[in-house]
């Protein structure tokens, strides 16, 4: 047995190499197809919130929470105290971020505009695609800073560092313009300050009009998540933004299916290449089998030797192939997503099974063929 492996080094090496190659490709693609969903869902977070909380008792929401037509007509609110529960739910790990919002209508340089009180840091992490020029509002206690939408900045000719005056119900508040925001959406026409400051200004302490939440797509079922949120936050209704949620899910599915189909195709092809290499190299060993038969070994014994050999080749090739595969997948990941891939332990048994299985199957036909032959003929060299 030992002799069989060590004496025929070059041939065994070819067999091992071909297993390594096949397996590494399979392992790389398996790893990629396991991880692609997660990576893509991180990129998909660029689309912003996928669940929003709105006040439960809302009269029809003309605008949000009763924000209508240039006036603030009372409306209904979400209790800010309830919102902290979001972080205690079991899904908190898959929550990218959430941001509470309080809207009001203010006057800025004689024009009416929408003021949003927010947690600015969370707003940015929910909406990574928005382009901030200058600085955001650094901490949630900051009472001086304001960020305005690009459209307002353009209309008013405001520049970074300017002092802006915001009037609410006759009182004037002054803020330092630290940044401008370009989003292409309604936010281009809004003024952002800290939530706390907005609540004090509008005498809506502890109250919110909306909470935007962003969960990793594919990790949580957004519809059950919304139900859970609505249950644990009594003052709010949770809504799934189907534009984002459904498109994300279907996109993820498709990309994952493409990769899986490719993985299976590549797997089949490399399994075949391995089979053919091993079969060809075994066919050559007819002589050896003939000699063994001539020396009185029975078929069972011979099969045992060859299949043990196949198993060893499969295990060695499989393990090396797995390592190469993870390396390969990691290289791809670093190129595409700038992070190394997370190797999944589940790939190890899968690729080992494939490697051993393929080597076995590859050995069956030539060994059986060899066993059928007449030893004397083989030894004569025909």
């Amino acid at each position: 047995m030992r002799a069989s492996l060590s004496h025929r080094k070059s041939r065994v090496i070819i067999a091992v190499i071909s297993v390594v190659l096949g397996v590494s490709l399979a392992a790389a693609l398996l790893d990629i197809s396991f991880d692609i969903g997660e990576r893509t869902s991180v990129t998909l977070r660029g689309y912003g919130a996928n669940i929003i909380l709105v006040p439960k008792e809302a009269t029809l929401q003309v605008g949000l929470g009763g924000l209508g037509f240039g006036t603030m007509s009372g409306g209904s609110f979400i209790e800010e105290n309830d919102v902290a529960k979001i972080e205690t739910l079991s899904s908190a790990n898959d929550l990218v971020s959430y941001v509470p919002v309080l809207y009001s209508i203010i006057d800025i340089s004689g024009q009416k505009a929408v003021l949003s009180g927010v947690w600015f840091d969370s707003l940015m992490s929910i909406n990574p695609s928005w382009k901030l020029t200058g600085n955001g509002i650094q901490n949630r206690e900051d009472t001086q800073s304001a960020v305005i939408g690009a459209n307002i900045a353009e209309t008013l000719g405001a520049r970074l560092g300017d002092e802006i005056e915001i009037a609410y119900e006759g009182k004037v508040y002054r803020f330092n313009l630290t940044g401008t925001f370009s989003t292409g959406a309604s936010e281009d026409n809004q003024v952002f300050i800290n939530l706390k400051v907005a609540q004090e200004m509008t005498q809506n302490k502890g109250l919110l009009h909306m909470v935007q939440l962003s969960y990793l797509a594919g990790k949580v079922n957004l519809y059950t998540q919304a139900e859970e949120l609505a249950r644990s936050i009594p003052s709010a209704d949770a809504k799934v933004l189907s534009q984002v949620a459904e498109s994300e899910a279907s996109f993820l599915n498709k990309i994952q299916t493409v990769i899986t189909v490719l993985a299976v195709g590549v797997l089949a092809a490399s399994a075949f290449a391995v089979t053919s290499t091993i079969s060809t190299s075994l066919l050559e060993r007819k002589n050896e089998i003939g000699l063994m038969l001539a020396l009185g070994a029975d078929s069972k014994k011979i099969s045992q030797i060859f299949f043990t050999e196949a198993t060893i080749i499969g295990v060695i090739g499989g393990l090396l192939g797995y390592l190469f595969g993870v390396g390969l997948a990691s290289l791809v990941w670093l190129q595409v997503f700038n992070v190394p891939i997370l190797p999944r332990p589940i790939t190890i048994p899968i690729v080992l099974l494939i490697a051993i299985g393929v080597t076995f199957i590859a050995s069956v036909i030539p060994v059986r063929q060899a066993l059928r032959i007449n030893p004397t003929v083989t030894l004569k060299g025909e």
Binding site: I14, T43, V114, S129, T155, S186, S250, V274, L283
Partner: protein
């Protein structure tokens, strides 16, 4: 002699040749499938991403700040400017007209229904419009003429995620409406009911043909066709407040980030003829000089990023897989040449020189590669077609003529490369030793 050996090789060693050819077939199939898929992936993914909605918003140039939350602008107190409805077909006359998948106009107003205030939105649901003939002048002076055409567009195409219970309202019947699910709940409306609305003391009765739910601001709106909204809200019969456009874009690269004011005419033309988001905005503002077009960043940016990642990912997978299958094929070829050491010894013993032996073997390998490539190509093409058809729901758009030669070259070269190494080894052998059976 050469051809006889060649013929015998293929006729007599069927089993072994079949294995070698099959190995090449597999390699070639992978090459052609992956190349086809990765060449088409940008387009397919781009089309998938359309599900996320419009990526460009077009509004009239205005000096006042709109009171805007959630995409709806509540009448600013300043004079309202509009986009002219009859100018909308011009959006499809820009250079990149074919990349504009859909657009829809919007007009908003607040109306009363009983004691509740609701948002009335006028739009196109599913409308065929006539696109006039046009000519575009490229920055380098080339003039491109396009003939007239028709185009079907509207919310139904622009926002495929809308879930409408019942039917979509008609673009021609001003008494039909689609009601947001929150309003329907609040006012107890069902499909087929009549919704009465009041605007400035005039009453209108609308038939509810469908109830829409999106989870977003649409749930709190009543949708009617654009003409109805213009009439009910007392706006001019051309008034449009906003147009959302969905364009198939190419991810931004170095050229896209260069300020186009500073470009030379040649570079500017190249930029003008690349479907970057910025180019769409430029061309839309060129077609309708009184509007401002803006990228909806969360859609446009994420789209660009996903496209870039996926193209790169598929390119890398393709290179790796082709590389690995090349090595696998090469190792099969190697094994099959190694087996023929005795044959080589015999050829040498009867007087063949190394060159003749090499030519013989390379010719065989070349034929194996060619056959494998020819057989593998359609299999790969079928696999790629399967992916395109079943996953993205579109057939492979264009047959890329470069793929066949690429596949053949890859197949022949891996087969040749696989033969060279063992052959060189084989040629060093002593004929006598081999023939003795060592």
């Amino acid at each position: 002699m050469f051809f006889r050996i060649l013929r015998d090789f293929f006729l007599r060693r069927k089993g072994r040749i079949a294995i070698a050819i099959l190995a090449v077939v597999m390699g070639a199939a992978i090459t052609s499938a992956l190349t086809t898929v990765s060449l088409g992936i940008t387009e397919n993914v781009g089309r998938e991403l359309k599900a996320f909605g419009a990526n460009i918003v077009v509004t009239p140039n205005s000096t006042s700040i709109p009171i805007e939350v959630g995409g709806i602008s509540y009448a600013s107190l300043e004079e309202q400017k509009y986009i002219n409805e009859s100018d909308l077909p011009l959006l499809k006359t820009i250079f990149w007209r074919n990349q504009i998948e859909a657009f829809a106009p919007y007009l908003y107003g607040i109306v009363q229904s009983g004691s509740e205030a609701v948002i009335l939105t006028g739009t196109w649901f599913y409308q065929q419009i006539a696109i006039p003939a046009s000519s575009t002048t490229l920055p380098n002076g080339t003039i491109i003429k396009r003939s007239a055409a028709t185009f079907t567009t509207g919310v139904k195409i622009l926002a495929p995620w809308w879930k409408v219970e019942g039917d979509w309202a008609s673009d021609n019947d001003s008494s039909q409406s689609i009601v947001g699910v929150s309003i329907a709940k609040k006012l107890n409306l069902r499909v087929g009911d009549t919704l009465s609305i009041t605007y400035q003391d005039s009453n209108y009765d609308l038939t509810v043909t469908g109830i829409v739910s999106t989870g977003s601001f649409e749930d709190d709106q009543v949708f009617v066709n654009l003409d109805a909204a213009q009439e009910i809200l007392g706006k001019p019969d051309y008034a449009v407040q906003k147009v959302l456009v969905s364009a198939l874009i190419k991810p931004d690269d170095e050229l896209a980030r260069t300020p186009h004011e500073k470009m030379s005419p040649e570079v500017h033309t190249k930029w003008y003829c690349s479907p970057y988001i910025g180019v769409f905005i430029y061309q839309i503002e060129e077609a309708l000089p009184y509007v401002k077009a803006k990228a909806i960043r969360q859609v446009a940016e994420t789209e660009g990023k996903l496209l870039e990642q996926n193209s790169l990912l598929f390119a890398l997978i393709t290179i790796n897989s082709v590389g690995a299958s090349a090595v696998a094929v090469a190792s099969t070829m190697m094994a099959s040449v190694l087996q023929r050491r005795r044959e080589i010894g015999l050829m040498k013993a009867i007087g063949a020189n190394n060159f003749q032996v090499a030519t013989q073997f390379l010719a065989e390998a070349g034929i194996v590669g060619l056959l494998g490539g020819l057989l593998g190509f359609p299999i790969g093409y079928f696999l790629a077609g399967f992916i395109a058809n079943n996953i993205f729901g579109v057939p492979i758009s264009t047959f890329d003529q470069t793929i066949l030669p690429i596949t053949l070259i890859v197949a022949i070269s891996i087969s040749l490369v696989g033969s060279v190494i063992p052959m060189r080894k084989a040629m060093k052998i002593e004929p006598a030793a081999v023939l003795r059976g060592e």
